[in-house]
């Protein structure tokens, strides 16, 4: 039987199931096949904070969304074209996001009376006509898997476990994904359990064959590879890119990396990743608490290391005092905040941009800290190097504001040439700088205002630093009013004077009257929304802030150039507050704090409203 093949330019798939169903793994493997095939892609994992919520319930639903295309894309997609629902809970939790006409592949085996009751379905939606506006493919995934594996010496339970691979096989057929890769992966993952490896591979192939032979699927789809810029690519998540960026920063600064960290969602993966790379001379220290994590990093920095601490919002709150100590002792330090929904514990696995004002101002005293925010998962690599560059050059703590969306999302990353990475090394101070061979630890570089970085082990430069106010130059304890005023202003001037690149505006025709500005992880949805507006003939300019402190020198001038400035943020208007105060520009805020990234369609609507109101 020859089946019809239909060409598509892009597809959004969402795998959804119980936390124990292996949906993240399924999504990862589909992503790997898609990356290998050469599509551009973007992913959005979404999982509960509970490790195993009660099976079959709505809080236990875990999902993985993947957007892939034959052109460059910017987001994991607004609404899935296909939902794979492994049980009734997965269907119910995700149906609201599914546009009419989308495909639903439902595992009928799990639509039992009990499972339906658990999520409040009186009758099975597969059997009443409540899903008539969607294209439902009812597939007994579990029993087909068990049947495919009946020749294996496996318990029924073990066989059932491979149902996610059956689903992966089916979807791989449906979208013409290469299979070799997944087979190799399964062989490696279960190298020590060859029987399990074989069973999973058999389930995967059975899923593929099911698609090929069953009449339930008459059409398969092809999405041609994307024409991306030439180069070598790999798929990478934000946390992994950030960890690699820190390693690169260590190499490019010629400073050994010391990570002091305490496990916290969604930042822990950076600790996990860095702990794998000890051969780079990286010391990873799992501290007793958040405070010790940053304290140890600062101690290591005093000793000449590239000191880093990684955390999420609640951890930043605990580290504030030590960051203040780093500000006043003027030592390099990188504080990575992978933001999550707050306040307090909030929603640990959900994303938010609500720590901006804490990063900027959440310390006692006048305590300026540079802030850098990556704009995409792969940009976490460059942003980490940039944070390190500023920290080392200006001897200052730097906040690096990632978030849950960037951390766990992934996209293809064109690998940089190592030779193109910036040299961010700085010399330690080894010679005295005062009269008669004395050393003045707070005598500054006239250009950068950075103080000397003289590390223990350097003869003749023994000195004492601390949290008490220091006399200009000597660094001796000082309570002199004029000196304090001078030091407060000098520390502020040092940060204000950091060399950050000018903002660039994307305005193809140069005649837009509305500017949309964002920062951090909202870049993708904003840029996708801007594309939609332009496609429809609308005029809108876009710019994006990567440096939140200091702001680029031309920020005010750009804001004032437009009739209207729109600023979408996943908070209640934190950057808007800042821009309004600093530049007296009537910034229009658009805010949602749902623990989820913006959708492109949603933002396109908001932009259109602003354009319309400008007529």
């Amino acid at each position: 039987m020859t089946k019809q093949v239909q060409q598509l330019d892009r597809v959004i798939i969402r795998f959804a199931g119980d936390s124990g169903d292996g949906m993240q793994l399924t999504g990862d493997r589909f992503t790997a096949g898609t990356a290998e095939f050469g599509n551009d892609l973007s992913t959005l994992p979404n999982f509960p904070a509970e490790i195993r919520a009660p099976a079959g319930t709505l809080p236990g639903v875990s999902s993985f969304q993947l957007h892939f295309a034959d052109h460059d894309i910017l987001t994991p997609g607004d609404a899935p074209n296909v939902l794979v629902a492994m049980n009734p809970a997965a269907l119910k939790a995700n149906l609201g996001d599914l546009p009419r006409g989308a495909d639903i592949i439902a595992n009928t085996d799990e639509f039992t009376k009990r499972n339906l009751q658990k999520v409040g379905y009186a009758t099975s939606p597969l059997e009443d006509d409540s899903l008539s506006e969607w294209r439902v493919h009812a597939v007994p995934l579990t029993s087909l898997t068990v049947k495919a594996l009946e020749d294996f010496d496996l318990s029924k339970k073990d066989a059932e476990r491979s149902k996610n691979m059956f689903a992966l096989g089916l979807l791989s057929w449906l979208y013409h994904r290469p299979t070799e890769h997944t087979i190799k992966f399964l062989e490696q993952k279960f190298a020590k359990k060859p029987d399990i490896a074989k069973a999973n591979i058999a389930a995967f192939q059975a899923g593929w064959n099911y698609g090929e032979t069953t009449e339930g699927f008459s059409v398969s789809y092809e999405v041609k590879p994307a024409r991306l810029a030439p180069g070598v690519y790999r798929n990478i998540s934000g946390n992994q890119a950030l960890a690699y960026g820190l390693i690169a920063a260590s190499v490019q600064s010629r400073l050994p990396l010391f990570l002091g960290s305490y496990p916290i969602t969604p930042a822990s993966d950076i600790l996990h990743e860095l702990s794998k790379h000890k051969r780079f001379g990286i010391r990873t220290f799992q501290a007793e608490d958040e405070i010790a994590g940053v304290g140890a990093a600062l101690g290591a920095a005093f000793g000449g290391a590239l000191g880093v601490t990684t955390t999420s919002g609640p951890g930043v709150a605990l580290k504030a005092e030590t960051v203040g100590l780093a500000v006043t002792t003027e030592l390099p330090l990188i504080v990575v905040d992978v933001q999550r929904a707050g306040p307090s514990t909030g929603m640990p696995t959900k994303t938010e941009q609500t720590d901006l004002l804490m990063a900027l101002f959440g310390r006692n005293g006048e305590s300026p800290v540079p802030v850098v925010a990556p704009m995409s998962p792969s940009d976490c690599f460059d942003a980490a190097i940039e944070a390190a560059r500023i920290a080392v050059k200006y001897r200052t703590p730097v906040m690096l504001l990632s978030d849950g969306y960037l951390a766990n999302g992934s996209e293809p990353w064109r690998l940089p040439e190592i030779s193109d990475l910036p040299d961010i090394s700085q010399e330690f101070t080894t010679a005295s700088n005062g009269e008669d061979g004395t050393f003045l630890p707070f005598k500054r570089d006239t250009e950068t205002l950075a103080r000397p970085w003289a590390i223990p082990g350097t003869p003749g430069l023994e000195h004492r630093i601390g949290g008490i106010e220091k006399a200009d130059g000597t660094g001796n304890i000082s309570y002199d009013p004029a000196n304090h005023d001078l030091m407060v202003r000098t520390r502020a001037a040092k940060i204000a004077g950091i060399d950050v690149p000018d903002l660039e505006v994307d305005d193809p025709d140069g005649d837009a009257r509305v500017l949309v500005i964002g920062w951090g992880s909202t870049y993708g949805p904003i840029a996708a929304a801007v594309r939609r507006i332009r496609k429809g003939g609308g005029k809108v300019a876009q710019t994006h802030l990567r440096h939140l402190n200091p702001l680029p020198a031309n920020t005010g001038e750009i804001l004032k150039r437009y009739d209207k400035v729109l600023l979408p943020e996943i908070n209640l208007g934190q950057l808007a507050l800042l821009l309004r105060a600093r530049y007296l520009v009537d910034v229009i805020s658009y805010n949602r704090v749902r623990g989820l990234p913006f959708k492109a369609e949603e933002l396109a609507g908001v932009i259109q409203d602003v354009i319309d109101s400008d007529q």
Partner: protein, 357 residues
């Protein structure tokens, strides 16, 4: 110029003792070399002066390069200590000195790192960092100045103040049971635990000698007099009339005795204090600081309850255990030996890649 990569860790992974990884000086040093140019600003009569002088006159004995010595402190009267020493110094924030020193010592085994802290700093706000530093066994010398009062905030009770202490914050007497720093340290898996007194320079220096020879974390509790807010807290230990009877000297391999008392095994399995002339020499407990089993050391730390009847002074526990910084360096070496030194290009190209031309 020391901006050569500090990646090389090979030289650090030796099973060195004490400060064997810290470079030595050829130059003869004296007390004067360790005095900074800063005016010492403790209250006249403060026990800190005696400790500072003892440390300054002890350091030349180590013969270390001065630039390889770092004093890290928290907050409190004692924490001003680093300013007065002509070494590298870091006066940090309240309670956090052990954490900061851990990062420094773990990444720089070529340094002699000291933590100067007080009873409030180490046992109240910094209690968590202290216990974890002790269990990790990073190569640190922690000097805990215990004056059983908050001095810098002007006289509130501290976590070592006796129950019922009348202070500004406890006009009807404090309610909380104090910590016993020695018991706490032994419970926290410390490999070196000692107690000494500010006024007994000879004993203080003998303990420092052993503490610096110990590779790993050493905790030295120093009874220190605050003559403003808690004067004479340790007077019995200094009073020539009674001190020899009260002070129970702990010396490894020696019977545990004071002038008039002896420590023996009790019938209930524990230990007890008896009149020295009531028992034969063979019944007196011999001190074994190197005993892997901490139970006797722990019992000795509880000997002095109620306080100041018979106070053990000296080294309670001194056992060999790999230092954290050594183990950490060994893992770096092992990783490099297994797969070669890190190569950034190889790292980025690792995993699944594809080429678009």
């Amino acid at each position: 110029m020391t901006s050569e990569p500090l990646f090389a860790s090979g030289k650090t992974s030796v099973n060195g003792k004490g400060l064997s990884l810290v470079p030595k000086t050829d130059v003869k040093q004296s007390l004067k070399d360790f005095k900074s140019d800063q005016e010492v600003r403790w209250c006249p009569g403060c026990g800190d002066y005696a400790i500072l002088a003892a440390v300054q006159s002890f350091l030349p004995e180590l013969g270390l390069k001065r630039e390889n010595i770092v004093f890290v402190s928290g907050i409190g009267c004692s924490s001003r200590f680093p300013y007065y020493l002509n070494t590298y110094g870091f006066h940090s924030i309240h309670g956090r000195a052990p954490a900061i020193a851990t990062g420094l010592a773990a990444s720089r085994p070529d340094l002699s790192v000291w933590v100067i802290t007080g009873d409030g700093d180490a046992l109240s706000i910094g209690g968590n960092h202290l216990i974890h530093a002790l269990r990790r066994n990073v190569n640190l010398n922690i000097l805990l100045f215990n004056n059983r009062i908050y001095g810098l905030t002007k006289g509130q009770y501290s976590p070592t103040s006796e129950v019922g202490k009348i202070t500004k914050s406890t006009p009807m007497g404090s309610l909380d049971k104090p910590f016993n720093p020695i018991s706490l340290a032994i419970g926290a898996e410390a490999s070196f635990v000692a107690r000494t007194i500010d006024s007994d320079r000879k004993h203080l220096q003998s303990v420092l000698r052993e503490a610096t020879a110990h590779r790993g974390t050493s905790l030295v509790e120093i009874y220190q007099n605050c003559n403003i807010f808690n004067d004479n807290a340790f007077e019995q230990l200094k009073d020539p009339e009674v001190r020899d009877d009260i002070t129970v000297r702990l010396e490894h391999g020696q019977p545990i005795v004071s002038a008039s008392k002896a420590v023996v095994r009790a019938a209930n399995g524990g230990i007890e204090v008896v009149a020295r002339d009531s028992v034969g020499d063979d019944q007196i407990l011999v001190h074994d600081a190197h005993n892997p089993d901490p139970s006797v050391a722990f019992a000795l730390s509880r000997l002095d309850e109620p306080a100041f009847e018979h106070v053990p002074i000296g080294i309670f526990r001194q056992v060999a255990r790999p230092a954290y910084d050594t183990l950490m360096a060994e893992q770096l070496d092992e990783a490099a030996a297994r797969t070669g030194a890190g190569d950034l290009s190889e790292l980025l190209l690792g995993g699944d890649t594809w080429r678009i031309s």
